[in-house]
Amino acid sequence: MDFLHQFVQQLINGVSLGSIYALIALGYTMIYGIIKLINFAHGDIYMVGAYIGFFAITRAGLSIVPALLISMVVTGILGMIVERLAYKPLRHAPRISVLITAIGVSFFLEYASMYFVSPTPRTFPEVIPSVAFNVGPFIVNGQQMLIMGITLVLMLILTYIVQKTKLGKAMRAASFDVETAQLMGINADRVISFTFCIGSALAAAAGVLVGVYYNSIDPLMGIMPGLKAFVAAVLGGIGILPGAVAGGIILGVIEALVSGFISSTFRDAAAFAILILVLLFKPSGIFGKNTREKV
């Protein structure tokens, strides 16, 4: 009984952590789906989002929802600028060149942030009263409710955009084949720009929520969650939106279980071990189809 109790409790923690990964993974997967780039800088976009949220709350005195929205808008624009300046000129370059550029952008965002906001971690203000709800014998705290609630709302909005709007349809078309999509009259540059915007906005939301959850943010906070969100995207099948969400949540749960039952020091190793196992045994991920190279 005690084991089961702890197990379910870790499951709750895992789902809320996994929601964060899912939000970041969505951006990864959308960007990879269209331009086949592992955007190493995506985790740093999430960090910038957290800082913008932080300043919106502490300097402008906003409450959590407006701060979240402002952070999403500003970070979304930042994502577009990054794409325009760093990735667009390399549209036809070898993928490895773009990957290296992404590493460069990642360093730039990390250390430029460090320069402007100092490397010391900041304490994120308490934006919602720290309450805990008892659901039967289990505890769900206010932050966890907030994370899961906002993640759910954002996912519904994203689903609407991707399925119903014209740009969303263009995005889906481009993720199959950018060149064919262009021949069908889709403006690929605009679609890519839009994809970076949405992906970055979702990452920003994740950043602000993490600030609320862990109360602490710093300029290098994006590195690990960024990598893990990529793991989540691969786990779910890269380029597949529901896959990213499922991957994120599964990863969050596994990490919570490893921390709870083995040791928190092995948490990061667990994520990478999953990555390698998936890549070796089902590189197309849970929801993906296998493809082969034409000779």
Binding site: P89, F107, F108, F230, V234, T265, I276, L280
Partner: protein, 316 residues
């Protein structure tokens, strides 16, 4: 006497002259210990960069976990000298063997992956290595390994660096090396030409890992303490920057890259954020304007000035 052998001897002679000059400057304290330390770091970085170049540049298999193998070499080495009181050279060999063995075991399954998937998998494996070391109380865990005897000096580093360069240069200029380069150029065609692509990918990865182990052992014995924090994937990125800056597929380039990056790091050490911002911008601009790196596939021995020295120094 064979022409190629003559070129080798000329290069070797030149290197030994440079070594003698630097060693004299160090012994007579003309070069302060700050500069000696930086020369040692440059030498270690050259080994790291050249061995990574064998994997990333020559064979075209994008690895981001090189620091993990360095860690294996470093820890193996310090265990040998500190716990078993073995000679330094034995520690170096042990570090190379263990790192190489691990490279082989890791390479065998993962090198089936391509491009960015391989990159992220090797990054993950490098991190797993580090996390495992962090959890080994035997070697000090997260706090680090303390009480190491200082063995590394400029002579060790320079001579081992020279040996590394010699081995890797000879390897890439052989049928084995050509097999690796063919894989980079076109894997399907390489296979169709009778090249066992899996074997050569794993071979390049193993050799690269073994030399990273050597570099790690030298690195480990340069300070009195080492900790897992020195071998994160950010360290791997650092070696990648050297290789990319110098040119994927050029030994000369890797030497230059290691030199430039170490020098810039040393000069900008008081302003760490600034240093990383410059790195980042340099990397991005390089990809925009010179994605093949400073040297591309060129070697210094095939350039005009050396051609004249060697009469016909064409070797590739």
């Amino acid at each position: 006497m064979n022409l190629l052998r003559k070129n080798d001897l000329i290069m070797l002679g030149l290197s030994l002259v440079i070594f003698a000059i630097l060693q004299v400057l160090i012994t007579t304290k003309v070069l302060t210990s700050f500069w000696e330390l930086n020369l040692i770091i440059i030498g270690i970085n050259v080994i790291m960069a050249v061995s990574l170049n064998l994997i990333n540049g020559y064979t075209g298999q994008f690895s981001l976990g090189h620091a993990g193998f360095m860690a294996v070499g470093a820890y193996t080495g310090v265990v040998m000298t500190t716990f078993f009181h073995l000679p330094f050279i034995v520690a170096i060999i042990a570090g190379a063997v263990l790192a190489g063995l691990l490279g082989f075991l890791i390479g065998l399954p993962t090198l089936r992956l391509r491009g960015d998937y391989l990159a992220i998998a090797t990054l993950g494996l490098g991190e797993i290595i580090r996390i495992v070391i962090m959890n080994l109380d035997y070697v000090g865990g997260a706090a680090g390994f303390k009480g190491i005897t200082h063995h590394t000096n400029f002579a060790w580093v320079f001579l081992i660096m020279l040996f590394t360069l010699f081995v890797i240069k000879n390897f890439v200029n052989s049928s084995h090396g050509r097999a690796c380069i063919a894989i980079r150029e076109n894997e399907i065609a390489a296979e169709a030409m009778g090249i066992n692509t899996t074997k050569y990918k794993v071979m390049a990865f193993t050799i690269g890992a073994a030399f990273a182990g050597v570099a790690g052992c030298l690195f480990g014995h340069n300070f009195y303490i080492i900790s897992p924090g020195s071998f994160t994937f950010l360290a791997s990125f650092n070696y990648l920057i050297m290789v990319v800056m110098g040119g994927l597929g050029s030994i000369t380039g890797s030497i230059a890259g290691a030199f430039v990056v170490t020098f810039i790091s040393a000069v900008l050490a008081p302003w760490p954020e600034f240093r990383m911002i410059i790195y980042a911008l340099a990397l991005i601009l390089l990809m925009f304007y010179r994605p093949q790196g400073l040297f591309g596939y060129m070697e210094v021995t095939s350039m005009g000035i050396f051609r004249r020295i060697f009469k016909r120094g064409h070797e590739s």
